[in-house]
Symmetry: C2
Subunit: 768 residues, 2 copies
Amino acid sequence: MNKNYIVPSEWSIIENGFDADNVEASESLFSIGNGSMGQRANFEEDYSGKTFQGSYIGGIYYPDKTRVGWWKNGYPEYFAKVLNAPNWIGIHIKINGTTFDLNTCKISDFKRELNMKEGWLSRSFTAEIPSGEKVEVTTKRFVSVEINEVGAIEYSVKAVNFSGAIEFAPYVDSGIMNEDTNYDEFFWEILEVIDGDNNACILSKTLKTEFHVATAMQVSFAINNKEVSATKETSKEEKKITHTYKLQVLEGDVATIYKYASYTSSMNYEIADLVEASFLNVEKAANLGFNALLASQIKSWDEIWKTADIVIEGDVKAQQGIRFNIFQLNQTYMGTDARLNIGPKGFTGEKYGGSTYWDTEAYCIPFYMATKDQSVAKNLLKYRYNQLDKAIENAEKLGFTNGAALYPMVTMNGEECHNEWEITFEEIHRNGAMIYGIYNYVNYTQDFAYIPEFGLEVMIAIARFWHQRANYSAAKDKYVILGVTGPNEYENNINNNYYTNYLAKWCIEYTVECLNKVKEDYKEDFDRVIEKANLTAEETYEWLKVSDNMYFPYSEEHNVYLQQDGFLDKELIPTDKLEASQRPINQKWSWDRILRSCYIKQADTLQGMYLFEDRFSKEELERHFDFYEPITVHESSLSPCVHSILAASIDRMPKAYEMYLRTSRLDLDDYNHEVHEGCHITSMAGTWMAVVQGFGGMRVWQDGILAFNPQIPEEWKSYSFTINFRGNTIKVYKSQTECKFFNESENEIKLIVDNKEIILTPSVEVVL
Amino acid sequence: MNKNYIVPSEWSIIENGFDADNVEASESLFSIGNGSMGQRANFEEDYSGKTFQGSYIGGIYYPDKTRVGWWKNGYPEYFAKVLNAPNWIGIHIKINGTTFDLNTCKISDFKRELNMKEGWLSRSFTAEIPSGEKVEVTTKRFVSVEINEVGAIEYSVKAVNFSGAIEFAPYVDSGIMNEDTNYDEFFWEILEVIDGDNNACILSKTLKTEFHVATAMQVSFAINNKEVSATKETSKEEKKITHTYKLQVLEGDVATIYKYASYTSSMNYEIADLVEASFLNVEKAANLGFNALLASQIKSWDEIWKTADIVIEGDVKAQQGIRFNIFQLNQTYMGTDARLNIGPKGFTGEKYGGSTYWDTEAYCIPFYMATKDQSVAKNLLKYRYNQLDKAIENAEKLGFTNGAALYPMVTMNGEECHNEWEITFEEIHRNGAMIYGIYNYVNYTQDFAYIPEFGLEVMIAIARFWHQRANYSAAKDKYVILGVTGPNEYENNINNNYYTNYLAKWCIEYTVECLNKVKEDYKEDFDRVIEKANLTAEETYEWLKVSDNMYFPYSEEHNVYLQQDGFLDKELIPTDKLEASQRPINQKWSWDRILRSCYIKQADTLQGMYLFEDRFSKEELERHFDFYEPITVHESSLSPCVHSILAASIDRMPKAYEMYLRTSRLDLDDYNHEVHEGCHITSMAGTWMAVVQGFGGMRVWQDGILAFNPQIPEEWKSYSFTINFRGNTIKVYKSQTECKFFNESENEIKLIVDNKEIILTPSVEVVL
């Protein structure tokens, strides 16, 4: 059963009433993050019920030893994992000597809220502990966007029916295990546990990778909103430090603890300076105080929403869903650090280990490009540029030569850390996404200078890969690409996947096109890159032999490109003829049966047509959509969005809306019964695309012109979305009857709306 | 580097000189077994150097929890493993109080011998211990073929340069771990440790499977060959019991311990009787005494060799190699128990877990059929018959219905215990081998009655599987079989593997043929089977639609059947153009590169032509051999034998001999640098086939007539082999000029030799 307990609300995620069975799901859904650090919505106080404790720091990982059933040559020895980091939120609480634990209390009026507009998490409830004392608790917590190493907690307890002692024992604990380990190993070594007056710090380092992290805390107290001092008792353990404070209260009093915490890591500091930096952070935070920090937090999120909000009227759940997605994407990645990327679970869980998939290029870059300054998307591209050497090494391990690069399927630091041969070695279309990301960025921003400066080296290495990976088939007198897995992972080790072959051909062509342009316009860069890559014109002619003679499987009978060789040997039974009891097939069928069936997990041939929609006629799109969508089971969270966009562009709005619904509230309604493991961060970008590119009809093609063709689902009264386009904020409105564009800058922007060219000047209004 | 330390000898495996680096390899090579139990050639005394201790009991296994990197639907939860069983050989020895350990001694005149003619293992050496005492040691050990629960050791120590105490402390130890475990778990629970006068026993049971095993020992002593009594001291631990005896010797005396041991298991006894049965066994053995037991052992092996020996003159290494293979096959499986089968490592190691692969049907049945009473091969067939229900369950898990059966890739008790989707789910040709085994048996023995009694049920279930597994391809207007792995495991998830499609078609046809014959000649059985299987004539017509319209990929250009669809898209570069540095490709190349290459691991299309050689013309065989063999890397120990046989049958004797050499001494010369893990038992049967079927040209086809077409390699002076054929012992001689057949029975046997029909009467002699 799907969960259905989240209260619809335009700007907040709200849970009313306490249900222990929802604790782990809520820990995921109410997660908070600031792009640099983040955490699941664990309780501050002790909780003896089922819980998944998780706190994460961007970029801090551990290479867990690979676990396989049967080793295949070429598998990486390690799988780099997001690392569960020291706990800084914890506060043991005792009421008159009894440990406060919601699992043992009578609870009423429980409310949890994640305020997305302002970027904070709160709880409030009344609880009666076993010994009869009743308390009203309110908590608020956030991780600061402005000071992105700092988190703050306000935790208030009202003594409803007693006078006595409320004991707060805030702590920092580095004795944590990853939920997701292959061999139940401990990943941290504790170096120092430092006690201060009203503060404390633990310096620990990760094994193998030797990331050093200082986790500090500082606290202050108030009774009835008046600051008070309290006497500390320190308990120092091997991996944990706790300060215990006992506050005496009278019936009706409210005792409050403010806890400020900080992570500093060796990614940003000298190791010798870590502890001091962390102490300075908490001191600074404490001096500012909780309310000032919160005010700054609200301002930061207001700035984010200005260029990212989507407003949907007439459908509160859709409104909540899309804002949740935008909010989580921002919590995961803010774009200020080219060493970070977008983990599939963000800071909400550990599953899928490494942080970076091709999802970044195929699904996330459009979101960040359109909602933030162009430096953010550029940082995502530079992440790959910085890992080019590793991608070349990775290809060498698989037998490629001459600087050919294969970007990893999953990575933290550029090294491959996935180990499933049909994916790791064969799902090579990901390499194409790397160039597509550059292409998309350059089209959107018109920042062609990125290519001579960074992109070209990546492109050359990838073109080399495709050239080597294809082979000449004498039987076909064409170049073929054998033994691949396409985006549809329900087919493995297939030959001539249309999508892969198309991308390979395009990558070579686009690289040569850019080489020529760079030679013309950026002579100095050209010379530098050519020398570094040791590239000759002759070599590029060899590449073009492959791209000019690439084979594409095609069916004359159906007048469509085939997903792969032999596709028509399958029994093509549409999904609506599949009994409900058989779905999802990935739970009901054995893997071989899935593989030999015609069923498609996520857009594959259609993924190519989505990426290059401008190169296909509407009739072609319709033909392929009608051939493939009916046999697509959409069992990847990345599937419905692409189909929604294509459906909208061929005027199938009911289908487009049906597909949109399948992901917009994927986590909030827990469609896949797995939200307790964390949220599906990257697929949230897909939902954003469905609204902006699909319903909004907003695409930018190689000519650099922005096209809009907005349509909205009948279920919505109106909607608008805001994008950032070459430094301008454009807001697109669409009700049943009109669409407006606002350009807040002085610049002229050329748009295409319904095939008409329009020059945008400030506040132009276009009625469609 | 290959090892090259085994001394050539016609009847023995001999190691001269002690080399600690060879200990583990020798532990494998000098293994002893009697088909019911067996063990690696570990030292009886303590050894602190590198060693792999292993003792095994046929049929006793443990379902180890499956370990995978990424779970696929349909994987079995457990992998049934050969179980390292309690140690019964151990004798702690002290010389004047110092533990005797070869790893700390000066050793000279070390000799180890495995006498294959008589079935025993011995060691002799002189050793000086660190404190200066010098001893001469001789040991002899065997596991009795006659009393197949019993093992015996004679261990003598001569005090060369001292008078003093020699302490023997024989023990039984159930505290052993499997070398091969997925999660480092202990698989045994110790129930009882029982101390007796001159005997002791441990009753333990396997976790989960609850096999109970009683391991007993009894000892006696002699000084200078005269029986003496000695005083015992018992040390009883949780998992081990030790009896310590101190013998006083004078310089020049020889102290001997005789240790008799026994395994009894709940496979053969009531649990309550196990301990007593084991004590009775050791008492019986001790009463008979070592020499009487040894005499019986020699007699047992003499009987075995009578119908199994192959004599090669002029090539001692070849002689030693083939006898080693015959010896190990017999040590692994004697054929008296239909619950047992032939593990890939026999009793010499643990790798590859479960005991039964399709190797049994494809490679081992011919050996056992030709060298033993026909009841032995029948037991191997009945093993599968007894597991039919599990094979049907296994198919159901993969979505098959109506009693279709898929026999497991690897099994102990009929349940699948392999977990690699491309093998477990897709290497389904193994199902065809099940019927081929029956077909082969019936042709050889003419015991058609096996089919109505047992075989037919298996055949119907498999025919049903093939009918359901194929699907109609509208594009081809034929039936196709998609998503399989053929015998060549260097291709995965391919479509229309010629070998698989051929077997599928043949299985249906042969099943229908047998159904008709049984209907005609065994009406009662027919009615019983038909009712049990709920089979109708209509259903068989549906099967025949598939077999009559099966698709086979074919190349007009090359005039050969293609291994699979799309094979000609590969670059066909013969192996002799592959640089030596690139081989073996399974160590040098990543898995994807292997998959998309043209290189073949082991006979695939040619495996089909080998099995059904009578259905192909010599020209067809030549064409396919010349197409496939040059791109075959023979990286499976099961590959060269089939190619050797085919090469011989198309008169390519140098090639046949080259291929033969690649497996005949695979373990003795440790070609693959892995003999320390155990020997390749099933591939030894392949070597036997190369000699008998290849050089001997001995095949039996469906008409039941035995054909011989002997040729021998130029390197051999002459050779002969002995086979058992329908109760007759036939010895085939071949020198450069002649070939003789001896028939020891009264029956007339029709043979085909060089296309001439010959009636064999006793001692007929045929000059070819």
